[in-house]
């Protein structure tokens, strides 16, 4: 080992002349061969060390092709306290996205984090998670994460270097900058609410006041903040309390999925969607493209986003008039048709009638003025302090700052640029020319998990530790400080933003832990025992009572003007609008190399591995565009060829495009130019300018009539006539629902037409000790996909890739069926999560020739992988088509030594399935067994309701899924099954499913509901 000393040859032996001379070339070569080796610290052999290494090298002989930086095998001769091999441990941490923390609880097996859950104690999570948080654990085990720092070499190729080399280079470059008070130093950080980072930033600005600090998020909320500046003269954050709102009006705001506080919103909204437990709320949505929130709205109006401000202003005028008893003010000019006009009237009426109990919220894509007007409307309605409150806003409007920074960079004023996370080369608006400006900066450092687009252009790259490997802190939306603690030693090494800041500040020998701990003392406040508070904060995952105090900012007077267009003018080619939408899976593209997220079907289009230009049926017809063909979008002189997807319910004249696709350097999953791997999807960023980063008008669409196959997991809206009619005819039967009025009239309306079922034989008892069952409330499901990813993570479900999704071979055990009802212009949407229904009289079991799928006494339909030979008969006979078949060995890539790290992320409680076997939802049987064992060990006590959670149930933000023992009549699931709304999907087949659905109850306003009836009758008459 000590022969590795680069200081020179030992014992007179040398390997090359370079070594003999110990020349700089040799030094560099050595560093490249053993990056990150702190060669000085390697002490001479001891006997124990020798035996350890010998043992390790024998044990690792098979793993020699893996390039681990450091191999250590330490037997647990003394077991650490509280650690039991094979027994999972759970630690709290937090995941920061867009500067907002999501509180998490991470399941670790033998030191490996394998599953993310929400932190139940934290009010914003309540135990639920977003898809991003669920998927982030896969990112930890991404073999393509950067494994060490690198330097931009010849022709832009990265050359591995040590961190010490970067330290040296930065130290050198920083010297003159320090003396210049920081002039020429710029830091471009992704948005962060970390108090520790803020502390370090303050220190930096104190010592080098000329330093430029920019926080940029490509999916940032700049216009929201700007709007609050207009309204209140200061940045203010709005906190919604949906619990107290009877009427919610959202303009382009995906409150329940895209909003940073979406989990809390979704949970609160869902609490008031059950007619049996209190008054229902009513949700109105006006939006250009379907949001999760819009898809579950009681009333939804598709409207171009650029008409939003005019709509709000008209609404404000109407509300003011209503206060004076007048109800006839002009309606927004863009509204056409009886229904749209009535929508406006009723919305205003309903908001007026629910003063102090309503919310008007506006999405981040709307302009600053719209946000300002919304604040005014909320004040007018007296909602402030009741359904919503204000706190300080720690985030800033980064786009403007980034623009200024770019100008400075281009002018050569920036000597050194430190990019702390983020990927501005990919996601900064094209018109500000970030990449070009970057080339003018002599020293640039990019801290990033991947060697991505930005890393390829900066002079240095530092590999960033994953948040599951890091110390840190961050604030959730309400300001509560969440602790970020590492679950595992950094697998590939790596630094955090805090480490780099410490480096710049010259803080020596200070780990992330030290920094956070030092900062924590500030926010614990005046406590006696800091250590105790620290341990409590780590245990809980957050610091209770650290939320921002509420403020009551004074509303300023301001003018807002929004020009409304006429309805006819909205669908003219060349004057269409292009709306950029943060992707429901890849966010702004940062999860581009995450296979789970890539393969998750979008909540509304059911697209995987791609984005597409979404347009409504009428516009598509008008433009001559068909599904699965390419179109050219051109706006402001920029052009992009992209696949088209015709989506009912999209606003007329509005084209939506998801961000985050078409990555140039994401990796093997997300595409890489260097590796020659085409990227999934199309880079919407190439059309995005800093002037109109969200909604851009003046779009021209040219049909290319060239085919492009999109991988969807469900048919398009448009299919052949026979299929279309049958599908639309069945929807009412499959996803049952009705209005509150119908429910109150007859609460078991959902099942009244179900036939009586008979059986010829006595069925075996499948409820011996327990009877596991599930209930899914269709009225609460918002289609957010948290359950899908949660299930994927829990059950080791492999991804199959775009080709195989096109071949309908995806393996998701739970899928969310999305159905459109009503007409294609303004459809209603129902989301129906569907896993194995665990039929008591399971048709799959009867036909399996080798008895590989059988029933347990507790009613589970078990799948015995070892016994399965793969005749696939069971899947044919499954009426729900929830069985999934391994057509290939979809885990084959795990055999590749380069992917060894991915094995670490697998759940050891769940078998990895081989090719040729069938698999399906098990109701998380491993969790059931764990629950049973725990109860048995504690004196054979009964299992408590809610003790065993299915992975899908646990992830669900709206608590739409209940699971438990039907034999326990008090259990939530037993109550759900007794609910008059409960019905069995395809119950007439007499398969007796253990999963029951609760019919969706909508709460339409009487005036609009009647209009619907009239329309229905009209349609009905048309048909005859």
């Amino acid at each position: 080992m000590s022969s590795m000393n680069p200081a020179g040859p030992r014992n007179g032996y040398y390997r090359s002349l370079n070594e003999l001379e110990n020349s700089p070339e040799f030094q560099e070569l050595f560093e490249r061969e053993f990056p990150g080796q702190d060669t000085q610290s390697i002490s001479p052999f001891t006997r124990r060390r020798f035996l350890q290494l010998m043992g390790a090298s024998v044990a690792l002989a098979g793993a020699q092709s893996c390039r681990w930086e450091k191999e250590e095998i330490l037997p647990f001769t003394n077991r650490p306290d509280g650690r039991m091999p094979g027994v999972p441990s759970h630690y709290a941490t937090a995941f920061e996205l867009g500067g907002v923390a999501q509180a998490l609880l991470v399941t670790n097996y033998d030191g490996r984090p394998i599953k993310i859950e929400g932190n139940k104690e934290h009010p914003a999570s309540g135990g639920a998670t977003t898809v991003y948080a669920q998927g982030s654990v896969l990112g930890l085990y991404d073999p393509e994460r950067s494994r060490g720092p690198s330097k931009r070499g010849a022709e832009g190729k990265p050359v591995d270097v040590t961190f010490q080399a970067i330290e040296g280079a930065l130290g050198e470059a920083l010297g003159p900058l320090r003396t210049a008070q920081g002039r020429g130093l710029a830091i471009l950080a992704e948005a962060s609410s970390s108090p520790t980072l803020a502390g370090l930033k303050a220190k930096l600005l104190e010592s080098m006041p000329e330093t430029r600090w920019v926080e940029y998020e490509s999916a940032g909320r700049d216009q929201v903040i700007a709007g609050s500046r207009i309204a209140f003269g200061q940045p203010v954050r709005t906190q919604y309390d949906l619990d107290d709102a009877k009427v919610i009006f959202s303009l382009d705001d995906d409150l329940m999925r895209d909003h940073p506080d979406a989990l809390r919103h979704a949970r609160a909204w869902a609490r008031h969607r059950d007619p049996q437990s209190g008054e229902m709320n009513r949700l109105y949505c006006v939006e250009s493209s379907f949001s999760s929130t819009g898809s579950v709205a009681d009333h939804r109006l598709p409207l171009r986003s650029d008409q939003g401000l005019a709509f709000l202003l008209a609404l404000e005028v109407r509300l003011q008039a209503l206060a004076g008893g007048n109800a006839s003010t002009p309606r927004p000019t863009a509204l056409a048709g009886k229904k749209a006009l009535a929508f406006f009237d009723v919305l205003a009426k309903d908001l007026h009638a629910n003063k102090g109990q309503s919310i008007v919220c506006v999405g981040a894509r709307q302009g600053a003025q719209a946000h300002a007007v919304a604040h005014r409307i909320n004040a007018l309605l007296g909602n402030v302090g009741k359904t919503l409150s204000y706190t300080q806003e720690p985030l800033s409007e980064g786009l403007g700052d980034l623009k200024d920074l770019c100008v400075e960079m281009g002018a050569g004023k920036v000597q050194m640029l430190l990019i702390l996370g983020g990927n501005p080369v990919y996601d900064a608006p094209v018109d500000i020319g970030f990449a070009k400006a970057l080339s003018k900066v002599p020293t640039s450092v990019h801290l990033s998990e991947f060697r991505d687009e930005t890393s390829h252009l900066t002079s240095w790259h530092v590999n960033r530790a994953h948040y599951l490997e890091s110390w840190g802190d961050a604030r959730s939306w309400d300001g509560t400080i969440c602790m970020v603690q590492p679950q595992i030693e950094p697998i590939f090494g790596g630094k955090t933003s805090l480490d780099l800041m410490a480096l710049i500040l010259g803080i020596k020998d200070s780990s992330g832990l030290d920094l956070v701990q030092a900062e924590a003392e500030n926010y614990f406040g005046d406590v006696e025992d800091v250590d105790r508070s620290w341990r409590k904060a780590l245990h809980d995952g957050f610091v209770a009572g650290s939320a921002y105090p509420k403020i009551t900012p004074a509303l300023a007077t301001f003018d807002a003007k929004g020009a409304g267009a006429s309805a006819d003018a909205l669908a003219v080619n060349g004057k269409l609008e292009l709306v950029f939408v943060t992707d429901s899976r890849l966010y702004d593209g940062r999860f581009g190399n995450n296979g789970w997220l890539q393969e998750t079907p979008d909540f509304i289009t059911k697209l995987t591995w791609d984005n597409a230009a979404l347009m409504d049926i009428e516009t598509a017809e008008h433009l001559g565009v068909e599904n699965d063909t390419l179109v050219e979008l051109s706006i402001g002189g920029r052009k992009l060829e992209v696949a088209a997807y015709v989506l009912p319910g999209q606003a007329k004249g509005s084209v939506a495009l998801f961000l985050g696709f078409g990555r140039r350097e994401a990796g093997r999953v997300g595409g890489s130019v260097v590796q020659g791997i085409p990227a999934p999807g199309f880079d919407a960023g190439t059309l995005r300018s800093s002037v109109s980063p969200w909604v851009a008008s003046g779009l021209k669409v040219t049909a290319r009539h060239e085919g492009f196959t999109l991988a969807t997991t469900q048919d398009h809206w448009a299919i052949d006539k026979v299929g279309f009619e049958a599908r639309q005819g069945r929807i009412g039967e499959l996803v049952r629902g009705g209005t509150l009025e119908e429910f109150e009239h007859k609460n078991d309306f959902a099942t009244e037409e179900d036939p009586e079922l008979f059986t010829l034989w006595e069925r075996p008892d499948v409820s011996v000790n327990h009877a596991w069952g599930m209930g899914i409330d269709l009225g609460k499901c918002i289609g957010c996909n948290a359950c899908v990813i949660g299930c994927t993570a829990e059950n080791n479900i492999p991804i199959v890739g775009k080709e195989e999704v096109i071949n309908n071979r995806e393996l998701h055990w739970i899928r969310i069926d999305r159905y459109f009802a009503g007409d294609g212009k303004d459809p209603r949407v129902v989301h129906q999560p569907l896993g194995c229904q665990q039929c008591e009289n399971a048709p799959c079991e009867q036909v399996c020739p080798v008895a590989a799928t059988t029933h347990t006494e507790e009613g589970l339909n078990d799948m015995v992988y070892n016994r399965c030979v793969g005749t696939r008969y069971c899947a044919n006979n499954c009426p729900y088509k929830v069985r999934r078949f391994n057509y290939f060995n979809f885990n084959k890539d795990l055999e590749d030594p380069a992917n060894a790290v991915r094995k670490m992320g697998k759940n050891p409680e769940v078998t990895i399935r081989h090719r040729g076997v069938m698999e399906k939802c098990t109701y998380c049987v491993q969790r059931i067994q764990q629950g049973k064992i725990a109860a048995k060990r504690e004196g054979n006590r009964p299992i408590r309701d809610g003790e065993i959670l299915a992975a899908c149930q646990q992830a669900c933000p709206t608590e739409a899924i209940t699971f438990g023992d039907l034999k326990d009549s008090k259990s939530k699931v037993a109550q759900a099954h007794k609910n008059p709304r409960a019905y069995a999907l395809l119950g007439e087949l007499n398969v007796s499913p253990r999963t029951l659905y609760l019919a969706q109850i909508r709460n339409p306003h009487a005036d609009l509901a009647n209009l619907d009836h009239v329309n229905k009758a009209e349609n009905h008459n048309d048909k005859h």
């Binding site: 469900q714 048919d715 052949d720 026979v722 299929g723 049958a726 599908r727 005819g729 069945r730 929807i731 499959l734 195989e804 071949n807 309908n808 071979r809 995806e810 899928r815 069926d817 999305r818 159905y819 129906q832 569907l834 048709p843 009867q846 036909v847 399996c848 020739p849 080798v850 008895a851 016994r867 399965c868 030979v869 793969g870 005749t871 696939r872 008969y873 899947a875 044919n876 006979n877 009426p879 729900y880 088509k881 069985r883 999934r884 078949f885 391994n886 057509y887 290939f888 060995n889 081989h914 090719r915 040729g916 076997v917 069938m918 395809l986 087949l989």
Partner: protein, 484 residues
């Protein structure tokens, strides 16, 4: 065709001869055995060409199967929801073809239809080979091919029996029983003819090979008596199998609850379809074989015409079944069921449905005309269309029903892959190779039986000058005049 073949002219009161020409016993023996006895070098070149093509195709099948085993069944187009695709279609197709042989041998034997004697041997051979092809598909179709033997009730250390409730298991039994009985029946019937070949053998190898399989047949009265009894019993055993095997195959579909599969009409409809396709395949093979090997006198136009009549009859039964399915789908009032049929005829697979319907129901109607029944070109076109149509029938049943079942969210459209096509084509390689080997080395016509139906004037005719010059030793297999 200017005039109708003389064997097909019906004269009131006169039974047309079953065998044409003036072959005597010995000439007949010569004609049939001659094919098998040709020295290797004198084998017609066409045979070599044919077998080299078919063996290449067979080799390709081997490669494709190898690829499949190594890679996984995903090399086919199977997907969710169409979990069964071409392999099962091919399986049912081949099982269906395998029906004519035993029907001709056993059922027509029991019904004393003597015209069967000319064609039964190679119809049976065709059955065996078709069942071989059929058996191949379920075996390679499973996801873990190396464990396919778990479908058999073999005692094992796991103490696991297969699931006797599964129609697939019934299928395993039905097809393997059918294959066994068909093979025995074919072989038993061939013993006297093998003895003839043995007796005529000029080389030691032939004598030994045929000798072993002839089982020491001497042609004694006692042996003939036992042979007849045994044959009769096996025929009686095989007859119900003709009905059972395809009924059981149809249970694979009918017992499932899938709309479009779950139909009580399936067993009779499948059996009729199987006979239909089987006869079509016999005609497809018989027409070239009789021309090529000079067997036109033995397999006469009358035989072909009779088979065409069977095709017409069974084709009409199948057509009836197609129509009644629609009626029941409407009359039954089950929305899923009625959609399954609407979707078949007017949905995305309408092209397949109407291909099937026209090939199986419309085109064979031309056989109402005697001219068409007795015209070689017309019948060849029709029987090939029937073969195509019957393959499509299985495709329509299997794939269209699966592609759109209960939940519209899971609907999908099936696309076959190149491997699908190659596997199917490869199975023809297996079939044709086996058939060519059979034609070349085994008695293609049941000589012993045909001799029993030779027109009386030709039986052991002494007026034949050639036989006077070259007196033929009576061979062991010369049949005694018994009524079968």
């Amino acid at each position: 065709m200017t005039s109708i073949d003389p064997t097909c002219v019906d004269q009131p009161g006169v039974r047309p001869p079953l065998i044409d020409g003036d072959d005597t016993y010995s000439a007949l023996t010569e004609r049939v055995c001659g094919i098998a006895e040709q020295p290797v070098l004198e084998t017609p070149k066409a045979w070599f060409v044919a077998i080299s093509i078919s063996m290449s195709v067979l080799a390709m099948l081997g490669v494709v199967i190898g690829y499949l085993v190594v890679t996984g069944v995903g090399v086919w187009g199977n997907m969710n929801p169409v979990f069964w695709g071409w392999p099962i279609v091919n399986f049912v197709f081949w099982v269906g073809i395998g029906h004519a042989g035993t029907l001709i041998s056993a059922v027509l034997f029991l019904f004393r239809q003597k015209w069967r004697t000319s064609i039964n041997r190679f119809a049976e051979a065709m059955t065996i080979f078709a069942v071989m092809c059929a058996g191949l598909f379920p075996a390679i179709h499973v996801g873990r091919i190396w464990l396919a033997y778990w479908l058999f009730p073999i005692p094992n250390q796991m103490e696991m029996w297969p699931n006797f409730r599964s129609p697939l298991l019934w299928d395993v039994f039905a097809v393997s029983t059918y294959a066994t009985v068909s093979l025995l029946f074919w072989y038993l019937g061939m013993v006297p003819d093998l003895a003839t070949l043995r007796d005529r053998s000029t080389t030691k190898v032939r004598k030994l090979a045929y000798g072993i399989f002839a089982l020491g047949w001497t042609g004694s009265n006692k042996q003939w008596h036992r042979f007849e009894r045994g044959y009769l019993l096996l025929a009686a055993l095989a007859t119900p199998l003709v009905l059972s095997v395809h009924s059981v195959v149809s249970f694979d579909f009918a017992v499932a609850q899938l709309p479009g599969w779950h139909t009580t009409v399936f067993p009779p409809y499948f059996v009729a379809g199987a006979i239909f396709s089987g006869f079509a395949m016999v005609v497809t093979l018989a027409v070239p074989a009789r021309a090529f090997f000079g067997l036109k006198n033995i397999i006469t136009m009358r035989h072909l015409e009779v088979m065409n009549k069977v095709i017409l009859a069974t084709g009409s039964i199948v057509g009836y079944a197609y129509i009644i399915e629609f009626f029941i789908a409407w009359y039954g009032g089950n929305a899923f069921e009625s959609f399954a049929f609407q979707n078949r005829a007017f949905g995305p697979y309408a092209w397949a449905y109407w291909t099937m319907f026209s090939c199986n129901v419309i085109f064979p109607q031309i056989f109402w005309f005697k001219k068409a029944r007795t015209s070689i070109p017309i019948m060849m076109v029709i029987v090939i269309l029937v073969n195509v149509g019957m393959w499509f029938e299985r495709f329509v049943i299997t794939v269209t029903s699966l592609s759109r079942d209960f939940l519209p969210s899971s609907w999908g459209y099936f696309h076959p892959t190149l491997i699908d096509v190659l596997t199917f084509v490869g199975s023809f390689g297996l079939f044709v190779t086996m058939f060519l080997l059979f034609c070349r080395f085994l008695p293609m016509v049941a000589m012993a039986e045909v001799k029993a139906v030779l027109p009386v004037p030709h039986r052991n005719s002494s007026g034949d000058s050639s036989s006077e010059d070259d007196p033929q030793e009576p061979t062991a297999s010369d049949a005694p005049e018994v009524t079968l």
